[in-house]
Subunit: 194 residues, 2 copies
Amino acid sequence: MAGAPDPQRRSERARVAILDAALSLCRETGFSALTIEGIAERAGVSKKTIYRWWPSKGTVLLDAVTELAGRTALFPDTGDFERDMNTQVNIVVGLYSPQDTSPVAALVAEGQLDAALAASIREQVIAPSIAGFEERMRSAQRVGELPGSADPAVALDLFYGPLYHRLALRLGLPDEEEIRVRIAHVMAALRATA
Amino acid sequence: MAGAPDPQRRSERARVAILDAALSLCRETGFSALTIEGIAERAGVSKKTIYRWWPSKGTVLLDAVTELAGRTALFPDTGDFERDMNTQVNIVVGLYSPQDTSPVAALVAEGQLDAALAASIREQVIAPSIAGFEERMRSAQRVGELPGSADPAVALDLFYGPLYHRLALRLGLPDEEEIRVRIAHVMAALRATA
DNA sequence: TACAGAACGACACGCTACGTGTCGTGTCAT
DNA sequence: ATGACACGACACGTAGCGTGTCGTTCTGTA
């Protein structure tokens, strides 16, 4: 019967058209209104072709977003950890804006309702990103910008927590100044662990 | 011409049955599998009765949760702000557990995909809860536990951020010890604002 | 207590999207 | 060249949506 399809014979044209259609439709009408049939129609592709390669609209969008962002946003390292954190958090906030039609925001929301999708997101995007953060933070600790006793897991929660708090409760995404103040607080807290 | 229905003639029996059915079904099968038809069947109620009073399954669940929690969880005030924050955050984490079938977690996730639902959640639950936090924090400032210069909006983001970071990215909800450490960090940061 | 009217349960309806199956056509590794 | 398989197209049964209709039951008010 239907064994797994052969990736070597896969149509690149169809793959790209599907990913493009998913992204543009999500940005136009939001994730809730996104349907497999809608994607198929805009991409000029059979539904069967989508179901052959993806199990859900969430995973289609995940691949689209992953492709779009290239590999996970790398952490800058200018030698100033606090400045680099500001840069990085502002970039991430940009990915979630505008919240109503951001494919990234939709993906994260859907992941909270779909454990399987969440696992894929974690593997493809979140885990590498966290690894990047920890590497950058350890570098800051080696240079003496932060005490060696500071815990990267705690720091991660505190640096990014405000963003997800705003996102989850729809409190409005933080602007640059709000980000700056919160990061400054976290830096103070981490330095106090010495 | 379906004018607005008359709340005075509303059947309390049906209302309670619907709310109970929504809660139990959500806990059994999760929010994604929750349907208006399923709620109607379990509640022994006509679909029409549900649609007469609620526009979506999300708003049904919101009312169920609001009723369940009575009025918004009040902030304790033992005179020890850090201890009270630990108590409060642990309670909130409990509301979100287990993430897969928690009606509260489902509601917050759905709110990220449905702006109208999010607005209702904010009015009925979030806004009063934030007001309670700010009141408790100002009390701590009056007593001198925190400097008067500490900003409640920043504090809110930092105290609750870690929880929503874990929730949104499915990193596993923090346990008591993890909460304790993060709150201690935030307290240090807020005290450093002096 | 009688009564009008509205909410109720039941059921049927058309619709959209789902996920699968079938069937020629086209395309690619060999 | 050729055979296998992914492709586009189209059809299918199903689930759930949101609405409409119709008696029946309940409730607030006269």
